[in-house]
Amino acid sequence: MTTEKFAHKIRYYTIDMIIHMGFGHIGGALSIVDCLAVLYAPKEGLLKIDPKHPRWDERDYFVMSKGHAGAALYATLASRDFFDLKILHTLNQPGTILPSHVDRLKTPGVDMTAGSLAQGFGASVGIAIGARLKNKNQKVYCIVGDGELNEGQCWEAIQVAAHQKLNNLIVFVDDNKKQLDGISSDICEAFDFVQKFDAFGWNAIRVDGHDHQQLREQILKAHEQSKPTVIVMTTIKGKGIEFLENINDHHLRIDTDEKQELLNNAKKYYAKKAEL
């Protein structure tokens, strides 16, 4: 399956989950779908994983540091048969294995618990060190939010990764330029992430986070590096649903018939694109 088609599938299931739940972090989930597709697509995806053995000792690791975007990861993992697609409708329900923020003890395929921001990023540095100690050529991928980079601990992790020359660590910044209270630069100007990571000793590049070819190329280039890589993804929060792309709604609540209809239309659109 092409990564593009797999992205349609992830979008379909992400939208379906949020419609079923009635609310959720859909904007920040949709902005990283293309990155997830490039990593997780069957055959064409770059991650070394075995859905039948989620804790396979030789797998590549993936950490969703922006843990609230769990819905997109769940849609991805279910689409790769880590668990049954039917479980997606239990998102955020009492007793679910799919909590609002990712949890390694609850969901097959989730490598690290996240939700207290920056800790996933911080842990991925430890995972990369552990993977290197094991000497099995395992990669560690981590998605961090641009708002999440407000957190001081991220910059601790960035320093340690650079000092340790963790060339098996590839971090994606979901630079959708919006966070809970609105436009990120209105809250705390981040300046240029590429310059900042570069100054901290990383291999840093910016890509269009919805362009699969760019993402794939830069991930493969990162594998040749002697230092950690950050791929700053210019993304659109809510990517793939027009009305969502233009609003500042971090926690979308489907509280009008109009929103319901727009989401249903989007769902149908992606079902067709994904040939579901």
Partner: protein
């Protein structure tokens, strides 16, 4: 006899700690050590020398040290993480709570020089809150260590069977040796180091020595004093507390910690639920300050004679 009479501990507690960790690391290649620009203080250079690949001095980053340890845990490694007690607790509590305890990734946090053992480092470094913080977490064990014998035994036990979050607070340098070398310890079990029925003093860590001094003075005044070392504060030894409450006329808890949430609070919770009797809680009710350890004992009125007076007054 468990207790040695006024013998200076020739071995530093930190040395016993590292000895124990190295012992485990020789048998288990998954054991790592993370220090936070305090190698000279913890003495962890010996681990670095023995196992350079499994040693990380990451700089002054306590929060990242914990998350990094958790990450190493994801790949099967087991980390000991060191910082001074205030930074090993207050500074990285959320990381410890979420990345280790909640996520069930085994880590041992070593918090050195808690309470007034911080001495010249003063009030900013005086940790009177760490027990309260870690005691409130599930899937966590909390230890307050009194001498090198106890340290070595507990570290070996924790390292061989590391589960969940473990917080171990201890003074780097000891006051006196409490236990004989062959002494064994069971996690979650307190130790009665003096028998008596008039007064029972519960203590842990640096306060065990103070409790013994106090017991000596009270004994000279005709009181029979029981002293119990509750080195495991979480889980607390309910049985030894309830037994003491039934058998002794007056109960005292000594805390090298704020009286809110420390050892005394842990004992009080057991008493209220199982055998409600009065408990005299002695501990800090302010922040710390700069002085030698001996001077701070005097300032806080935690010397044997001042404690004895306070206890007699309360009876």
């Amino acid at each position: 006899m468990i207790v040695q009479e006024n013998i200076i501990d020739n071995k530093e507690i930190r040395t016993a700690c590292l000895d124990g960790i190295i012992e485990i690391a020789k048998k288990d290649d998954k054991v790592c050590f993370i220090d936070t620009d305090l190698v000279a203080s913890s003495g962890s250079g010996v681990f670095q020398k023995a196992f350079p690949k499994r040693f990380f001095n990451i700089g002054i980053m306590e929060a990242e040290a914990i998350s990094m340890a958790a990450g190493l845990g994801v790949t099967g490694y087991k980390c000991f993480v060191h910082s001074f007690a205030p930074f090993a607790s207050r500074r990285c509590f959320d990381q410890a709570a979420v990345s280790s305890a909640y996520t069930d990734i085994p880590i041992v946090i070593l918090g050195t020089d808690p309470g007034i053992t911080t001495a010249y480092n003063g009030g900013t470094h005086t940790t009177f809150e760490d027990i309260a913080m870690f005691r409130s977490l599930s899937n966590t064990k909390v230890f307050d260590i009194c001498d090198s014998v106890q340290m070595y035994a507990i570290i070996k036990e924790l390292g061989q069977n590391m589960k969940g979050l473990n917080y171990v607070r201890f003074a780097r340098r000891p006051s006196r040796k409490i236990y004989q070398d062959e002494m064994s310890f069971e996690i979650g079990k307190g130790i009665m180091i003096r028998e008596g029925i008039d007064i029972c003093i519960f203590a842990s860590g640096a306060m065990v020595s103070q409790a013994l001094d106090t017991a000596d003075i009270l004994k000279s005044q005709g009181k029979s004093v029981r002293v119990i070392d509750l080195f495991t504060i979480l889980p607390i030894d309910k049985d030894i507390i309830i037994k003491a409450a039934k058998e002794c006329k007056h109960l005292v808890a000594l805390d090298n910690h704020n009286i809110r949430g420390g050892l005394g609070s842990a004992i009080a919770e057991v008493l209220v639920a199982h055998h409600p009797v009065k408990l005299q809680q002695i501990g800090a009710e302010s922040f710390g300050q700069v002085a030698t350890f001996a001077q701070l004992l005097d300032i806080f009125a935690w010397t044997g004679d001042k404690l004895a007076k306070k206890i007699l007054k309360a009876i």
